[in-house]
Structure formats: C-alpha cells, structure tokens
C-alpha cells in the first residue's frame, strides 16, 4: 500500500540525508531494514502511537540544534567500578574508553566487528519481531543506518557493570547507535548508560536473554536541555530469565523511550521502570509493550513523572497476554506528580488478555503534592522547599526501588536531589 504523500516525502527526505554503512555481516539486516522502513514510512502525528508526542523533529533530515549543558557536576556512576565505553556525539572514543576485555564477556563494536559474527542472529531480528502489532519505524531506521554500537556477549557472571557513556560535544550532532546484548544461559550482566549522546540521538538496543540469564540495566539520560532522544529496547526472555531496566530522565526537550518485551520462556521476570523530572520545555514519553507468551511469568511497569512549568509526560503501556500464558502476573502503574497547573500527563494504559487464569492490574494517577504530608514535614521544622523535595523523592521511590543494587539506587536518588535543589535555586 502506498504511503500518504506527506509521509512518503518526509521519509524520503530523511533517508536521503543518511548513508548506510557498507559491507560486513550486518549488511543483509541493514538492507532488509531499509526496505521495511521505506514500506512503513517514518512516523507522523497522525499515527496512533504518536498522538501525544510530535515526531517531526525526530524525523526531519537534520538534527535541531541543541546547546551543550554547562555543568561542573561530576557525572553519574563516577563511584561505580565499571568497564567504560565512551561515545562522543555517537563516535567511539578509544582514548576515553577502557580496554574492552573482561572475563565471561566479549565486547565488539558494530563498526568493526569481523565478517562472521554471533550478533547477526540478533541484530535487527528482535527489532523486526517488535514491529507487530505496533510499528516502530525509528528503530527500523536505526537498524539500517546505525554507525556504531556495542555487541556484548555474556557467557558467565560479569564481574562489573559495563558502562556506556554518551558525551555530547557538537550542537548539531545526529547520532544513531545500535547495541546488541546476548546473555547465555545462567549468565548475568549489568549495563549502565548515561549522557545526552548528541543533539539528536536515535538508539536501539536488542537484548536476547537465554534461560536463566539475568540482565540489569540502569540508565540516566543526559541533562542537556535541548537534546532529543528516541530510544528503543527490544528484549526476548527465555525460561526463568530476568530483565530489569530503569531509566532516569531529567531535562531534554524531547525523549521517547520505547520498550518491547517478549516473555517467551516460562517463569521469566521483566521489570521496566522509569522516573522523570521535567521543568518547562520538556516532553517525555514512555511507550511500552509487554507480551506474555509463556507460563507463570511476571512483568512490572512502574513509571513516575514529576512535571512542572508546562512540562509534558506521556505513558503508553500495554500488556498482551497470549492464549495459554496462564498464571501471568502483570502489574502496571503510571503516575504523575504535577507541581503546578501548567503541566500535563497523558496516559494510555492497555490490557489485552486471552488467557483465563491471570492476574493483571493497572493504575494511572495524576496529583499534586500531598498537603497533609507537606504540613507534617513543615511542622517538624523542615522548610517548604526541602519538604517538597522529600515528598517528590518519595513519589519517585517506587520506580527507583526497582533497581536491585542499592548503590545504584543511591546514585539515582542523589541525582534527583541535585536536580531538585538546583531548581529551587
């Protein structure tokens, strides 16, 4: 079916501005992705899942300019013992990165991986699976045109987290990175991500978790006010495997974080959580799709947004329980704390259930600071500003607690505290 002209034109303009990296094992996947993105077209405001988030600045040929954040604050995860991999405006920096060797883990780069590579069984494969029933063309574009990324194969328990650091140095950079993580049976790894990456960042990550594998993911998206990001995670979970992902977003004019989770092995667990704090020109969108396709799996979606001065939060979360996915335990909560009357939160929770022995709950709320709680704190001598901060951190706690490692929880909380106290001036 032909695309509407307006969509065709926008897609053509974007594709014309990109060069596909040539050669290597990823070539067929890239070409397949190009054909797919040409067929589906890039998103526009008329698309069902882009109703609340305008995709035009993510689709236009050039990245809108984004000023660099001036801050002398130390970067997050600075205290964590980790293997650092640094990208500057989407370009790998060997100088700033650690040696990529680690026990039980092999790390290659998409840009220079050898011609025959394990990643070809995952690259673009999970992304393709994640296109049904909802299309995610920006991820497909990513598969076709990603310039680099890391290919992480975990064969045992990684001794320390792998930390992807995305620095932003050019005001007009347009970065496209694609990561693949493959976790073998019983293996375990923690992946950290932080930084703005570029003026505009398109990132796709595919995570294949074999039976009994465990993947922890903690991310703090960059604080540059004008940066834009469209990210997507596609994951498939085997039997008794675990996927836990948490994202903190503070600032950024536009962020769209998609996550597509497929529970395909029995007794698997998937938790996806996000906390965001937005002030003013801030639009943050979490779009999640979880498919239960096995017995006795558990999924949790916990999203909390603190919004003020006209900031906008969006949550689109779906749980699909397929026929036969009995004993599913699905939980979904999305809440916003609106610190004034100018901010807004748009939520679209969806459940689609074809099995008859499942427990699925969902809830979505919007509210202001609890006046009773605020008075209680103030009556004990805590000033209104810090008391409001305490209640704000408390509001985010359910999401932050989804991070298993307490040290990483503290890292996230201290970032939120710093953000709040900066806002108070």
């Amino acid at each position: 079916m032909a695309l509407p002209q307006i969509k065709q034109d926008a897609t053509d303009a974007r594709l014309a501005a990109l060069d596909m990296p040539q050669g290597g094992w990823a070539q067929p996947a890239r070409e397949d992705a190009l054909a797919r993105v040409q067929a589906m077209g890039l998103p526009n405001a008329r698309d069902e899942y882009w109703k609340y988030t305008r995709p035009d600045t993510l689709v236009q040929p050039d990245a809108p300019k984004a000023a660099l954040l001036e801050s002398d604050e130390a970067l997050i995860f600075g205290e964590v013992d980790r293997l650092k991999i640094v990208f500057v405006d989407g370009v790998f920096s060997a100088e700033e990165s650690d040696d990529l060797s680690m026990a039980h883990v092999t790390i290659d780069r998409l840009a220079d991986a050898p011609d025959i590579h394990w990643a070809k069984d995952v690259y673009g494969v999970l992304e393709t699976r994640g296109q049904t029933p909802v299309q995610r063309p920006l991820a497909t574009l990513n598969t076709a045109f990603a310039t680099d990324g890391v290919l992480i194969h975990v064969t045992g328990k990684a001794s320390k987290p792998i930390s992807l650091i995305y620095r932003h140095e050019s005001e007009v950079s347009d970065a496209i990175l694609h990561h693949v993580v493959k976790i073998d049976s019983g293996a375990e790894v923690t992946l950290l991500e932080n930084g703005p990456a570029a003026a505009r960042f398109n990132k796709c990550m595919e995570v294949e978790i074999a039976d009994g594998g465990t993947f922890h993911h903690v991310r703090a998206q960059g604080r540059d006010h004008e940066r834009r990001a469209a990210t997507a995670i596609f994951t498939r979970l085997g039997e008794e495997s675990v996927f836990k992902s948490f994202t903190l977003t503070a600032n950024g004019v536009l962020t769209r974080n998609e996550c597509v989770i497929e529970l395909t092995g029995d007794n698997a667990t998937a938790h996806i959580a996000g906390a965001c704090v937005g002030d003013g020109d801030f639009h943050h969108d979490d779009t999640v799709f979880i498919t239960h396709d096995a017995l006795n799996c558990e999924s949790r979606q916990v999203f909390k947004k603190v919004l003020r001065n006209g900031a906008t939060g969006v949550f689109q979360g779906k749980i699909l329980v397929k026929e036969g996915a009995q004993k599913t335990d699905g939980y979904q909560i999305s809440q916003s704390l609106l610190l004034d009357e100018d901010s807004q939160f748009l939520a679209k929770p969806e459940l689609e259930i074809y099995a008859d022995d499942v427990a699925c709950s969902h809830g979505s709320t919007s509210g202001a600071i609890d006046e009773e709680g605020l008075f209680y704190l103030r009556s004990r001598g805590i000033d209104e500003g810090p008391a409001t901060d305490l209640l704000t951190i408390a509001f985010l706690a359910e999401a932050v607690m989804e991070i298993e490692d307490e040290g990483l929880q503290d890292e996230i909380n201290s970032r939120v505290e710093a953000w709040l106290s900066r806002r108070r001036g």
Partner: protein
C-alpha cells in the same frame, strides 16, 4: 511561655467561627490539659498554633515567650519550639523515618544558628530514645508511619518530640486509638520530657490519659471557648458526670 489571648478563628473556606475568644496561658514547667466534647474546637486550636493552612485568625493573639507565632510559617514555629503531636500522624511513603527525623533535627538547628548533628551523634541519640519508647530498628528504617499500627504511630510522635526537644509540646488526642499498655508507654515518654523549661498542652477527650500524665491545670473547652479552669479534680468531675453539667453551668 505560651500565651493565647482572645483568639478568634474561622475556617478560611466558609464563614464559620470555630474559636470564639480563647484565653489561655501555659507556664514553663507546667502541664495543662484541655478537655471538651467533640466539636468544641480543641483540635482547631492545636492546628492554629502549629500553623496549618485553612484557618483564619480574625482576632486575638498567640505568643511563645513573647514572640507572635501566628505570623510565622509552620517550620519557623517548630524552630521556635512549638511541637504538635498529631492526632492522626501522616503516612509518608518513600521517606525513611530516620532520614525524616535527621532532616527535621538539623533543619531546626540550622534555623536557630546551631551546629548540625553529625550522623554518628544522631544515631547514638536516636537509638537510646527509641529504646525507651520500645521502637525497634526496623521502625526507624521504615517509611514514616507507613504500615505502623495506631500505637506505633503515636510512639513515633513522642520519639520525634524527644528528638526535637521543643519548648511547647501540644498533644492532640494522643490517647486516641491506644490500648492501656500503649498509653502507659506514651505517657512515660511524655513524663520523661517534663522539665522546668518546657510547657505541655494535652488535648484529650478522656480523663484516663491524665491518670498517667498528671496535669497541673485542667481546662474545659466548649463551643470555641474555655468555659472552666481548675485543678486535676476537674478532669475527675468530667469522668464521673460527663460534660452536660459543666455545659449547663456555662450557659
């Protein structure tokens, strides 16, 4: 210490007068009790003194050591030495009890220009005080009042009072929802804080709390005024005869 003169208060949202000229002076070192039937304005008085929103003072004054407290923000009143033990302590999910208390102690110290308490010192002090109130380490770690039983919440109020060492302690129906043992524990906590430099205003429906916290002065409040003031025997009179006689007398 606490001096309330001709205090008139109405609800901000509606034109309804709650306090209609309260006069009351609590001296340092004394325990005053206020008793009275439902709706007499006892809790309103405690909220107005601690600075809760929603009330408008239309006349009169309240001072602590000569300072007008009605003009102060709630946190300033706290730093000046006012403490309200809530009838319904508020649950604050996500904020650890310990974090909350340390923030409160240090905020007040900072406001008074005193040095903040170090983490170690704070821990030492709170452990000792918590032990006296039979508050275990788990309760200190849990979010403020979340999942606490009625008795635990009230004990937690007294713990806060013990840590903050206020000059003027206002207890709003601290006995409500307590069994006999819990009441004894709370009363012991309060009695331990009785001190020459500290005043207490104990609001209660019933005389039984006053068996444990012996008041120096008892006031009866009805329809927004103090209608009778006397010694501890007044509380016994209420216990035996109810408020009806006193109310009839006042008309």
């Amino acid at each position: 210490m606490l001096e309330i003169k001709n205090l008139h208060v109405q609800l901000e949202e509606e034109d309804k007068q709650i306090l209609k000229g309260v006069n009351l002076t609590v001296e340092a070192g004394k325990v005053h009790a206020i008793m009275g039937p439902n709706g007499s304005g006892k809790s309103t008085l405690s909220y107005v003194l601690s600075g809760k929103d929603g009330y408008e003072v239309t006349d009169g004054s309240a001072t602590l050591d000569g300072e007008d407290i009605l003009e102060m923000e709630p946190e300033e009143r706290a730093a000046a030495g006012v403490f309200l033990a809530f009838q319904y302590p508020v649950e604050i999910p996500g904020v650890g009890n310990m974090t909350f208390l340390r923030t409160a102690v240090n905020s007040q110290r900072k406001a008074r220009g005193e040095e903040e308490m170090s983490a170690t010192e704070f821990l030492k002090v709170i452990r000792a005080k918590a032990k006296d109130l039979k508050i275990d380490a788990d309760m200190l770690k849990r979010p403020v009042n979340v999942g606490f039983s009625g008795g635990e919440k009230k004990r937690n109020e007294i713990l806060q009072m013990a840590m903050l060492e206020p000059k003027m302690c206002i207890l709003d129906e601290t006995d409500s929802g307590l069994d006999v043992d819990a009441m004894k524990l709370v009363a012991d906590g309060v009695n331990a804080l009785r001190d020459e430099g500290r005043g207490f205003l104990v609001i209660t429906h019933y005389q039984r709390l006053l068996d444990h916290i012996k008041p120096d002065v008892v006031h009866i409040m009805a329809d927004g005024r103090i209608i009778k003031t006397g010694g501890p025997e007044l509380a016994l009179e209420v216990e035996n005869n109810g408020y009806a006689d006193l109310l009839a007398e006042a008309v």
